[in-house]
């Protein structure tokens, strides 16, 4: 049964033209990718677009993937797609905390920009982090990756990543404490 195959086997089958095998890979990794993108971008439509772009790129570049390393390879693509989407959001003037939206920073025909982060305490606290800190925090604590793998995926050094995670934890704890006090 195709559902029992490993990622590596599904990648090999996909490379020979098995659409069902790639669909199974999408089924297996979609929610995980969406979780990261949603937290990183703080906006569900942008996150869904980033995940869609991730799988489209993965399909087009599957021949370059080492089958045994599909998940980290896909994560690298996802990180890049989220960075691109984040840059686009900043260009649109939307990547700012909801509390500090400045009417002079954006323009929109007949509607305000959507909130830059999910409307939850945790989501709002996450929004206080810079994209780099947020990315490192999510890879470490949500995807539960080791620093060596994070370094391979992001291109940043391990010591820099440890520093970012530490700073993210401190900032997030402060933001959560602040919101708890409110």
């Amino acid at each position: 049964m195709i559902v029992d195959l490993t990622d590596a086997e599904l990648v090999r089958r996909s490379c020979t033209g098995s659409a069902r095998s790639f669909d199974r890979l999408v089924d297996r990794h979609y929610a995980r990718c969406l979780r990261f993108a949603n937290h990183q971008l703080g906006d569900r439509p942008d996150a869904e677009d980033a995940v869609q772009e991730t799988f489209m790129r993965a399909w087009r570049g599957l021949a370059t993937c080492t089958p045994e390393k599909f998940a980290p390879w896909l994560t690298t693509i996802l990180i890049n797609c989220c960075r691109t989407a984040g840059a686009r959001r900043r260009r649109r003037g939307l990547d700012v905390p909801l509390d500090s939206v400045d009417g002079h920073r954006f323009s929109a025909p007949a509607r305000l920009p959507e909130p830059a982060i999910e409307n939850t305490d945790v989501g709002r606290a996450l929004a206080t982090l810079t994209p780099r800190l947020r990315e490192a925090f999510l890879l470490r604590h949500i995807d539960e990756l080791g620093y060596a793998e994070m370094s391979r995926l992001t291109g940043a050094g391990e010591s820099a990543l440890k520093m970012r995670v530490k700073r993210a934890e401190q900032a997030l704890a402060r933001a959560l404490e602040h919101r708890h006090d409110d």
Binding site: E48, Q52, M56, H104, S107, I142
Partner: protein
Amino acid sequence: MTTDPDARLRSAIERLRQMPEPDPAARKRLNRQLRLGRSGGTSIVLSRRAALAAAALVVLCTSAVWISALTLIAGPPGAVTATTTPIQFVLVAPDAASVSLVGDFNHWDSAAMPLREGADGVWSVVVPLARGAFTYSFVVDGDEWRADPAAPAAPADFGRPSSVLYVSPESTP
């Protein structure tokens, strides 16, 4: 883990680890794009934001409010015909001295379609457009290009921020 977050932080991490429920419509869109890619057909990646913008456009262009607004806002160069759809472009720029619209539809001529300033720094212009996809941008004070944050970003902006607008036949009032 090598870190020791406090209880509140640990609780937040647990909440963040919960898997989101995928939107069936988003999955369907991805599957459609993958099918197109496999068949070797021309694949236009229509993002959810683009789809929302197109849907909003349809609503905007078919509403009675929109029709009445046409009588209040100064008309653009060109006339609305049976084959075009009047599209209102709006930019909030309270500090601007001038704003103009440039795009595929006016050969990127910044003198062709100036916006008119309304209340509270809201600049607008109405342009009749035929169906199709258009790339456009706003030019503020003659030299600052600004993309429309309410529309999808153009995939290739030639180094300048620009946006994409889809005008469908259904947009016709």
